[in-house]
């Protein structure tokens, strides 16, 4: 029973990771790519780690995985925000509808 729930969580996480990678290729601008990368990666990673915790059970490894998930939920959007802020300070204009993709 618990393995089935863990399997569902792992598949949801894999789906979000694949969607983030496809968005990184398909989207037309730097800001939209940062949107896809920052959100989909964080959510997919959290879902997969929750699945691994449910598969593992109550051990020390589960505690380490929980700490890793909490750290990533804080650190990954912060890193993407810092990169986007630096790019905005360098003067990159956002993409408008009808322009050429770059």
């Amino acid at each position: 029973m618990l393995n089935t729930v863990a399997l569902i969580f792992i598949f949801i996480g894999l789906f979000f990771m694949v969607v983030g990678a496809v968005g990184l290729i398909r989207l037309p601008d730097f800001y939209t790519r940062a949107h896809a990368s920052g959100k989909c990666d964080t959510l997919g990673e959290g879902m997969m780690l929750i699945g691994f915790i449910l598969y593992e059970g109550m051990t020390l490894i589960a505690v380490k995985l929980l700490l890793l998930a909490i750290f990533i939920f804080i650190s990954s959007p912060t890193a993407v925000h810092a990169l986007v802020n630096a790019a905005h300070a360098r003067g990159i204009k956002p993409w408008m509808k009808g322009e050429e993709r770059r």
């Binding site: 694949v18 990678a21 990368s37 890793l68 750290f71 990169l83």
Partner: protein, 87 residues
């Protein structure tokens, strides 16, 4: 369950190759940096999966260290892009 881990590891490696396309072809520095950051966050999950497949819990400690190094590297590169130096 081990087969599921093998399949998810293979799918993760394929998504890493999709991100490497953006690393090679992306215009400008920022697109490459976002793609490298994404590859790093996928590598953390890949290390955890390798630890489960081979039955070695030490890989989870390695993945924690990798997450910290990835975060510090992204912040340092962002500061360098913004100011032109690491001061």
């Amino acid at each position: 369950m081990i087969d599921i881990f093998h399949a998810s590891a293979i799918i993760l490696v394929l998504t890493i190759f999709l991100c490497l396309y953006r690393v090679i072809a992306g215009p400008g520095v920022e697109n490459r940096l976002i793609a490298v950051n994404t590859v790093g966050t996928k590598t953390i999950i890949l290390l955890v999966i390798i630890g489960f497949i081979y039955g070695r819990p030490l890989f989870i400690d390695i993945s924690i260290i990798y997450a910290m190094i990835n975060f510090i590297a992204a912040l340092a590169i962002a500061k360098y892009l913004r100011r032109g130096c690491l001061c």
